[in-house]
């Protein structure tokens, strides 16, 4: 969130875009996000839709699955970090892969947090809450 944002209707600070190709996981993440007090702006199943939603809504947080059709979570991650209009967007990557290398790649791509599947709803809600809390360490 930049101080000189022009638009009259400022984006609510707790909007979330969720992207995962598995509908059940998407719904689960959405529940966790709502429990953390966030508003789910979009809940989509592929990378291209996710990127469109992120560009349009400029959410406070993007929860992205690493392996998705269209664009992968890592690719979207890099797009967000390269886009000056999205400097305030936090990124949480979700992955079923447990390779240490994968975690490293995610962090290098600019993610704020890397969460492995399976995850507990309660703990995910806590982590989302932490990321959305104002003053939490920015990217």
């Amino acid at each position: 969130m930049t101080a000189d944002d022009g638009p009259p209707e400022p984006t609510p600070p707790t909007t979330v875009v969720i992207a995962d190709d598995d509908a059940d996981i998407r719904a689960l993440v959405a529940i966790a996000a709502r429990r953390a007090g966030a508003t789910v702006e979009a809940c989509v199943g592929d990378g291209v839709q996710a990127w469109q939603a992120i560009e349009q809504t400029r959410p406070a947080l993007a929860v992205l699955d690493v392996a998705m059709p269209g664009l992968t979570g890592l690719e979207i991650c890099r797009l967000i970090r390269r886009n000056p209009g999205l400097t305030g967007t936090r990124i949480l990557l979700l992955s079923a892969s447990v390779h240490a290398v994968a975690v490293n790649d995610g962090m290098l791509a600019g993610a704020d947090l890397y969460v492995e599947k399976p995850f507990g709803v309660r703990s995910l809600a806590t982590r989302i809450g932490d990321l959305l809390r104002p003053g939490a360490g920015g990217p």
């Binding site: 689960l28 399976p118 709803v121």
Partner: protein, 604 residues
């Protein structure tokens, strides 16, 4: 007659040709001059001249003046010739044969005395026996010949001639001197001739033996060259029979010298098109660090020159531009003195294998992803149901949910373990090293294990180290290894038993970096049969005590634990007594924590 070679050689070997055969009529003359055994021939010659010369007595002018002396002379000559015949056959020493010419001198002396003494025409006949004596080897014949000649010349005095008469004295002195000089010349000439003949004969013998040697070495050289040609042909045949591997030999700078049939087949070019060219044409430039052919070739042969053969995966670019993945072994070719004079590149096409391995990896990743995703949903929604405060579940329903959750977690662990072993197998498991305090790992493992221990009524005891024990490692994996060992110990220990966890630091005596951390997990369980101990860490192996007691598991825990130990540069050992218990010791290289000032003070 004496042969040049006294000892007959076997008839099969003709040996060097006999000199006589080539000399023709000069043979006897040569023998006359040089052969010390030819005294008979010389005597025969002297006697023949001696007797023929006396035919002159039949003519006018020459008369027998002293018949006694004349008769003695002829008798002595006959006796000497007879003696020469005996000498020839009886093989008496050559020196003794000198007597014969000396007798002949005397015979001539008597003839001279009998046919006019100082005026006799036969004085000149003295030359013959004197020559005969002169050709005898050595100076002794001369020394003996001189007084005999003087005596022979003095004989007329014996038969009444006055010493002073008609210059008798002059003859007695002068003729022996002349004859002596002739004799000396003959002696010297024959000596030279004899030594030359000896040298020639020696040369001939040497030549003959050289000839034999040369013939022999020519034969062995021929055999060696045949052998070398044969082995070169065999080697070429073998190298070319290798059609599944590419064998390329280069010189020191990478120019191709040998290109076998396998290489031609793999790289789709003919040998004659590439011989003398650089091997780099078959490599992708981006795989070889450095710019310029020299640097690239050095990259390909790094370490090989120093004696470490290199082996690794590379991409070969075939003549038609297609690429293939090869496993390439590079070794140095060395000359007789051990210096590197080239390199040998043996490559096997592993494109299909690498593709398969990649597919297997992808498959395992896909499966694990596909299994983990539904498990994530199951566990996530279970949590939602169990935590739903608005619609609380009955106690019984909660118990059912716990069972579902436990089993979902079990499935999840299995998937993780399979994925992990696949990673280890493909060599992709790498430890992300961080300093880890094992005391904390052990305490956390104890906390994790406590509920299970309580439910199985097994006492679990922990003994940590007073000082911190730090290893460079992966926290999660080390915890997993310790958890595996504890969970095994609990599973195999009957109710009422004990499981002891011990952590200790094993310092190397000299502090040279051999320090280790030892994690020991011992139980009072059922134990493992001794003959199964070495299979214990194999994938999917289950001890007979496990199957007999229906203890659940798939046989991956210890495989994973050992893989983690190895990845940390450590190892794991097991000791077990059937019916008494088992003890696993995980040993990890540790780093010494920099000593605090107090610590330094503690250690003088």
């Amino acid at each position: 007659m004496t042969t040049v070679r006294p000892r007959a050689r076997p008839s099969v070997d003709p040996g060097p040709p006999r000199p006589d055969a080539r000399l023709g009529i000069f043979g006897p003359i040569r023998r006359f001059a040089t052969d010390s055994n030819s005294v008979f021939e010389r005597q025969l010659c002297t006697a023949a001249v001696f007797f023929l010369a006396q035919l002159l007595l039949l003519g006018p002018g020459i008369e027998i003046t002293v018949p006694t002396a004349w008769i003695i002379g002829n008798l002595v000559m006959v006796a000497a010739t007879g003696a020469a015949t005996v000498v020839r056959t009886a093989r008496i020493p050559p020196r003794a044969a000198m007597v014969i010419p000396m007798a002949s001198i005397l015979a001539v002396g008597f003839l001279r005395a009998g046919t006019g003494g100082a005026f006799s025409v036969y004085t000149i006949l003295l030359a013959l026996p004197v020559m005969s004596l002169g050709v005898e080897p050595g100076r002794l014949p001369l020394l003996l010949g001189a007084p005999v000649t003087i005596a022979a010349l003095a004989l007329p005095l014996l038969f009444g001639a006055a010493a002073t008469e008609d210059g008798n004295w002059a003859r007695i002195v002068f003729v022996p001197i002349v004859l002596g000089l002739i004799c000396l010349s003959a002696n010297e000439l024959t000596r030279r001739l004899r030594s030359r003949v000896r040298a020639v004969r020696k040369l001939q013998e040497e030549q003959a033996s050289l000839l034999v040697q040369a013939r022999r070495s020519a034969e062995s050289a021929q055999a060696a060259s045949n052998l070398a040609r044969e082995s070169a042909r065999a080697l070429t045949g073998v190298v070319n029979a290798v059609t599944e591997q590419s064998i390329i030999a280069t010189d020191e700078t990478g120019r191709i010298e040998v290109f076998n049939a396998g290489a031609a087949r793999m790289l789709k070019v003919a040998a004659h098109d590439v011989l003398g060219r650089s091997i780099l044409r078959f490599h992708r430039a981006d795989e070889l660090a450095g710019s310029g052919d020299v640097a690239r070739f050095d990259c390909l042969t790094a370490g090989v020159r120093e004696g470490t053969p290199s082996r690794g995966d590379w991409t070969y670019v075939a003549g038609d531009g297609t690429e293939l993945r090869v496993q390439l072994s590079v070794t140095a070719r060395r000359d007789a003195s051990g210096g590197v004079d080239g390199f040998l590149f043996v490559a096997a096409d592993v494109t299909a294998e690498r593709e398969q391995a990649k597919m297997k990896d992808e498959f395992v990743n896909l499966i694990s992803h596909e299994l983990r995703t539904p498990l994530s949903s199951i566990l996530g929604y279970l949590e939602l149901v169990a935590d739903d405060e608005e619609n609380p579940l009955s106690k019984e329903q909660l118990t059912y949910l716990t069972v579902i959750e436990r089993n979902a977690n079990r499935l999840l662990r299995l998937v993780s373990d399979l994925l992990f072993t696949a990673q280890v197998e493909s060599g992709r498991f790498r430890v992300q090293e961080q300093p880890i305090d094992l005391n904390a790992v052990m305490r956390s493992a104890l906390d994790t294990a406590r509920p299970a221990a309580r439910s199985r009524n097994v006492r679990i005891l922990l003994s940590t180290c007073a000082e911190s024990v730090v290893v460079p490692g992966d926290q999660m994996r080390l915890a997993q290894a310790v958890d595996n060992l504890i969970s095994n110990a609990l599973k195999f220990t009957p109710a009422g038993g004990r499981v002891a966890l011990t952590l200790r630091a094993d310092d190397s005596a000299d502090g040279s970096g051999g320090d280790r951390a030892l994690i020991c997990v011992s139980d009072t369980g059922v134990g493992i049969p001794a003959d199964e101990l070495d299979q214990l860490f194999g994938r999917f192996f289950r001890a007979s005590t496990a199957t007999k007691n229906a203890i659940p598991g798939v046989g991956l825990g210890l495989t994973i634990t050992r893989a983690i130990a190895h990845a940390h540069g450590g190892d794991i050992r097991v000791a077990s007594t059937l019916g008494e218990g088992t003890s696993f010791t995980l040993s990890l290289p540790r780093v010494r924590v920099p000593a605090t000032p107090e610590g330094v003070a503690d250690r003088p």
